[in-house]
Every structure is written in structure tokens, then in C-alpha cells.
């Protein structure tokens, strides 16, 4: 088991180095504009640009730049400074992180709490009216893009502009002081962000569960005389949920690359996703690079956690 974990951690570390190198290539060697010109501001002159080039070490050979960059990232956790605000990228990310973390973790809880039970019940009551209703609903949710769903949610339920004014609307997170108030302000974003994934998980759980319940060991469990509830939960769900864990690791990472950005934009939540949209608009290269790297770290770490959890869930994995 220890060997397995060590191996996964080493793989994760190697992957991080590779990702960093790729990011370096994209942002330092193939920039769409001269970083010094981007940095120089509204009144450029050649002398100033040359000075900034020197300052950013852009005149150094590529391998020296690469080494400095890797050194910064890995030994000092330094992603450089924002061109726009001059603040260290790391600080901005740390500042934006809580909102995103709250958004994502809440959404994950909601999508698991909705998706898994729906999937299990649908599998057990297969082909029933309830199964059909839930599967059609989930298909509708999967088909609805997050930004559209977000706007509809605001239109229907936001305190300020909604038809039924019950939930905090756009920008309410910024004004929220206490943790409870922050959570309350996240309610609509959570549901919106969770909806599509919950629907996917419901369908995935359903098919995984249907497959599992046809296994021989389920028959064995019944033949032993176990209560049907124990057969379903202890023998069925226990197996069916294992592939979901893998999916979860990937999906949490992917949120940062997609739906979290959209949700933060629609609801005006000052998180990482919101920040990257701003930074892209302003061609703030170090900021974009920092967030991309950070996102990659995040995905790799979550996959690592998932791999380790998976080995605990499925004893057969430990020996492969």
C-alpha cells in the first residue's frame, strides 16, 4: 500500500514538472505580444521597454529563463507579478481562492446529495414512472448550459430582480460578511453549478448500479438471507460507487476549467474563475499563467487523492 502511494505521489510530481514546462513554453516562448510592451503601460518609449525587458530577464537565453522560472515555481511558489496590479500572482490567487473553494465544495456536496440517491432509486425502481421522470429531468438539466441556467435562476429567484424573490442574487457574495451569509449567498450558484453534474451523476450511478445489481455476488448476498436494504446498500452501492469516485476527482478539477468560471461570471463571485476572465481580457500573462498552473496543480492533486482513495475502496487495486 505504501509503495502504491509513493508511486502515485512520484507520478504526480513528475506530471507537475511536465505541466509547468508546457506552461512555460506557451506563455514565455510563444506569447502573442512582447511581454515588455504589455507591461509598459499607456506611454511607452523604446528605452523603457528595453529596461523592462532587462527587468523581466527577457534577454537571457531560454534555458536560463526556464531555470529561473522553474526555480521560482517550485522552490519559492512564485508565479511572478501581475502586469496590471503589480501584486504577486500568488497573493491574488490566495485572495480569490476562498470564494471558489466555497462555490466548488458546496456544489460538490449538493450534486452528490442529489445525484447519487436519484441514481440508486432509479436503478432499483427501474422502468418505473419515477425512474422515467427522473431520467428525463436529468437529461434536461444536462442539456441546459450553466450560464443559461444561472440567468434563469436569477430571473426566477433572485432577491432583487427575481419573479419569486427569495434567494440572494448577483454580487451578494461580495457584501456577505459572516460564513453563514456567504453560504446563503452561494445558494443559487451552488444549485446552478451542481445541477448539470448532479444529473450526469444520477445517470452514471443508475447505470453503474444496474450493472452491479446483476452481479453474481448480489445473488449470493440475497441467497444468504440478507435484508434487501443491506443487499442494496452494503453490497450494491458499495461496488457501484467506486467508479464514481474516480469521476469525482476528474470533475472537481474540470469545474475550474469550465463551469466554475461561468458560474462565477454570471453571479459575479470574485473567485479564481472570475479572475481569469478579467486577466485574459487584460492580457495579464503572469496572472493567466499562474492560474493555469494552479489549476493544473489542483487537478493533479485531486487525481492523486482519488487514486489513493480508490485503492482503499477496491482492495484489488493495491496489488496491480
Amino acid at each position: 500500500m505504501t509503495r502504491y502511494i509513493v508511486r502515485r505521489v512520484l507520478w504526480g510530481a513528475a506530471l507537475l514538472v511536465i505541466v509547468s514546462a508546457v506552461v512555460f513554453v506557451i506563455f514565455y516562448l510563444l506569447p502573442t505580444a512582447d511581454p515588455a510592451k504589455l507591461r509598459v503601460g499607456r506611454n511607452p518609449n523604446p528605452a523603457l521597454i528595453a529596461q523592462i525587458r532587462e527587468q523581466l530577464h527577457l534577454n537571457d537565453p531560454v534555458y536560463v529563463q526556464f531555470w529561473e522560472y522553474m526555480k521560482g515555481v517550485f522552490f519559492h511558489f512564485d508565479f511572478g507579478q501581475s502586469y496590471v496590479s503589480q501584486a504577486p500572482v500568488r497573493e491574488i490567487i490566495v485572495d480569490r481562492l476562498p470564494a471558489t473553494a466555497l462555490l466548488v465544495s458546496g456544489a460538490v456536496v449538493i450534486w452528490l446529495a442529489m445525484g447519487l440517491p436519484v441514481g440508486i432509486v432509479s436503478a432499483i425502481k427501474r422502468r418505473s414512472l419515477m425512474d422515467r421522470t427522473m431520467m428525463v429531468t436529468s437529461l434536461a438539466l444536462i442539456s441546459a448550459p450553466v450560464f443559461w441556467l444561472g440567468l434563469v435562476a436569477l430571473y426566477l429567484f433572485a432577491e432583487d430582480v427575481g419573479v419569486i424573490q427569495i434567494f440572494p442574487g448577483q454580487g451578494s457574495y461580495i457584501g456577505a460578511e459572516s460564513f453563514a451569509a456567504k453560504c446563503w449567498s452561494m445558494f443559487l450558484p451552488w444549485v446552478v453549478l451542481a445541477a448539470a453534474t448532479a444529473a450526469i451523476y444520477a445517470r452514471y450511478m443508475r447505470s453503474s448500479m444496474i450493472e452491479t445489481m446483476a452481479e453474481d455476488y448480489i445473488r449470493t448476498a440475497r441467497a444468504k438471507g440478507l435484508r434487501e436494504r443491506d443487499v442494496v446498500v452494503r453490497h450494491g452501492v458499495r461496488s457501484a460507487i467506486t467508479p464514481i469516485v474516480t469521476l469525482l476527482g476528474l470533475d472537481i478539477g474540470l469545474l475550474l476549467a469550465g463551469n466554475a468560471i461561468l458560474t462565477e461570471s454570471v453571479f459575479n463571485i470574485p473567485g479564481i474563475g472570475h479572475q481569469i476572465v478579467l486577466s485574459i481580457r487584460r492580457s495579464d500573462l503572469p496572472m493567466i499563467q499562474g492560474i493555469v498552473l494552479f489549476g493544473a496543480f489542483f487537478i493533479i492533486i485531486f487525481n492523486l487523492i482519488v487514486d489513493i482513495i480508490y485503492a482503499y475502496l477496491d482492495p484489488r487495486v493495491r496489488y496491480q
Binding site: R219, R222, L313
Partner: protein, 345 residues
């Protein structure tokens, strides 16, 4: 009255293609200390019939009729919750592939103790001790240590031993073994059969051995039912079936056994064609389309009844007269069913 009696059991599945008569009116019984062999090819209904005994085929699209009398109680009329107290406690079952029949995520010990604690209010330690005792009983060395193993850490034979230990956990009266040796190596098969035989004698179990392998039947059974297309086509004791088979299907089964003891090299005989669709079985005798001895009468349904004078418990479903059968009972030039006992294994 026998310990377990199956009377006119029918299991019909309603499918999109029509009603599939997986089991279509079968009768058998088994008593303590006895071993009934049920033999037939894949899809003949032998597993479905036995799973139905424990209610494992119950589903909205399944029609089950007949009676399953266990100690005089009709199990078919019990609700699922009532049936639960019979499953694993009075009647236990082991299955073909022990790897897929054991839960891959739980330790062997846990799976055995679960069987115990489901039916008995005992402490975890007591259940564990009992589980170790059971593993020892089925011949697994170092049982206390082995309780901590996962199924994938066991060999095929050990897994089946563990399955048997689990089935015996609550001292059942009947053990249904559904192809228990099919997934195992030949040498291991023999060990498992010996184990089952020993246990059934020691514990006075009634055993139902379901198999497609006549060799297995000849090792363990004292009565044999030959099933074909959802029905029993011949029923008798071991010697009657092997030495004086009456139904052409039984002849085919016996004739298709490889015989290494035979000096002459010849092509193994086979039963031509496929079993009929259970959605639309042929009228009359179900074996008719594949039978080389078919004649007009076969269009009528032959009842399962004793057809040999003086042998009331040897029944079959074939219209041929006993004399005709004796003449026609030849397979590839070899007379079958007349060899000495032990030759077929």
C-alpha cells in the same frame, strides 16, 4: 413426506418476444442425507428452477406457479421477508463461479460472519470464531489468518471452499450446489466433490447438485433428474440412468462423454441441432426435432411416468416401448449404458 418437495413448478418469464417457459412443470424431492443430481445443458431451466426455490427469480415479469414444500411449508406463498429466514439458514446455495459470487471488496471473514449475524444474534467475536471453524471444516489451512484475506487472494478451489463454508454457516438442511465445479480445474473439481460428499454425510445435508457434467453426477448423486427445455425428461436412481437410460436425450448425453478408457479411437457422438426456443417449444415431445428416433406419436406430449415394468421410480418422457428403446439405444456403434459402473467419470 420429503424434506423438500417441488411440485409442478412453473417459472414463466414475460418477455418482449412472448412468454418464455424456463421451467414448465417439474417435480422432484430430496431428503436429508440424499443427493439429487439435476443434469441438463445450458438454458434447460435447471438453475432457474433451483433459484426459484429460494425466491431468487421473483420479479414483476415472472410468473411462478406450483408448490415448493419445505418441511410442509409452501415457500412460494411466503413473503420476501419471511423467505429471508429460510435463505441461507434452512436452504443454502453455492454457485458456479466463486470469484464473481464473492463480493470483491469484502474480506472472506466478513462475508462469512455476515451470513451468521444475519440469522443469529451473536457477538462479532463468536461469529468470527465460527467462521474460522467453518474454514477449517472445509479444509482451508490457517483459517484464523485466512479470514482476513480478500477473495482475489484465494485460488479458485479455495474460493469455492470459502463459498461452501459460507453456505454451511447456519447449519442448513438443504444445500443447492449450482454447477459448483464448472469453473474449476479438473483436479480441484474432484477435491470439491469429495468435500461436498463428506460434508453431506457428516451433516446429514440434503444436496441438490445442478450440473451439465454427467461425470459429476456419477460421483455424487444417488438420484438423477435429466432436464431438457424446461422439463424433466427422465428421472431415476443413479444406476438406472447410467445403466438403463430410457430417453433418447439421456442416451445422447451419455454417448457424448469422452471415454479415455476406450481403446478404439472414434469421433465423439453429439446431439444434432440446438435446444428449442423456450418461447415457442415444439408441440408434443420437446426433444422431437433433434431426436433420431422420432415417429408419429411424438407429436403428442409424453407424460413423465414409469414405463418399465417393476420400476415405479424410473420415469421418462418417451413414447418408444421399452423393447424398442433397448434396440435403438446405440450411439456411434457403441452400446451405451451397459458398461460397468465407474467407467463413466
Amino acid at each position: 413426506m420429503s424434506l423438500l418437495e417441488i411440485r409442478d413448478l412453473r417459472v414463466h418469464f414475460r418477455t418482449e418476444g412472448g412468454v418464455l417457459k424456463a421451467v414448465d412443470g417439474i417435480d422432484f424431492e430430496v431428503d436429508s442425507g440424499g443427493t439429487l443430481g439435476i443434469v441438463g445443458e445450458s438454458g434447460c431451466g435447471k438453475s432457474v428452477a433451483n433459484m426459484t426455490i429460494l425466491g431468487l427469480t421473483r420479479a414483476p415479469n415472472v410468473n411462478i406457479s406450483g408448490r415448493v414444500l419445505f418441511e410442509g411449508r409452501d415457500l412460494l406463498t411466503l413473503r420476501d421477508e419471511e423467505l429471508r429466514s429460510v435463505r441461507g439458514r434452512e436452504i443454502a446455495m453455492i454457485f458456479q463461479d466463486p470469484l464473481t459470487s464473492l463480493h470483491p471488496f469484502y474480506r472472506i471473514g466478513k462475508q462469512i460472519t455476515e451470513a451468521i449475524t444475519t440469522h443469529h444474534d451473536v457477538s462479532k467475536e463468536a461469529a468470527k470464531d465460527r467462521a474460522a471453524e467453518l474454514l477449517a471444516q472445509v479444509g482451508i489451512p490457517d483459517p484464523a489468518e485466512r479470514l482476513r484475506a480478500y477473495p482475489h487472494e484465494f485460488s479458485g478451489g479455495m474460493r469455492q471452499r470459502a463459498m461452501i463454508a459460507m453456505a454451511l454457516a447456519n447449519d442448513p438442511k438443504v444445500l443447492i450446489a449450482d454447477e459448483p465445479t464448472t469453473a474449476l480445474d479438473v483436479t480441484i473439481q474432484a477435491q470439491i466433490l469429495k468435500l461436498l460428499q463428506r460434508l453431506s454425510q457428516e451433516l446429514g445435508l440434503a444436496v441438490i447438485m445442478i450440473t451439465h457434467d454427467l461425470g459429476v453426477i456419477s460421483e455424487v448423486a444417488d438420484r438423477v433428474d435429466v432436464m431438457y427445455a424446461g422439463r424433466i425428461v427422465e428421472s431415476g436412481d443413479l444406476d438406472q440412468i447410467f445403466y438403463d437410460p430410457q430417453h433418447p436425450y439421456t442416451w445422447g448425453l451419455i454417448g457424448s462423454i469422452a471415454r479415455p478408457d476406450r481403446g478404439r479411437v472414434h469421433r465423439l457422438s453429439q446431439i444434432n441441432g440446438q435446444p428449442p426456443s423456450l418461447l415457442a417449444p415444439p408441440k408434443g415431445c420437446h426433444f422431437r426435432p433433434r431426436c433420431p428416433h422420432e415417429f408419429e406419436k411424438c407429436a403428442e406430449d409424453p407424460p413423465l411416468e414409469p414405463r418399465l415394468p417393476g420400476q415405479p421410480d424410473h420415469c421418462d418422457r418417451c413414447w418408444l416401448s421399452p423393447d424398442e428403446k433397448r434396440v435403438k439405444r446405440q450411439v456411434s456403434g457403441d452400446r451405451i449404458g451397459l458398461e460397468e459402473k465407474g467407467a463413466i467419470a
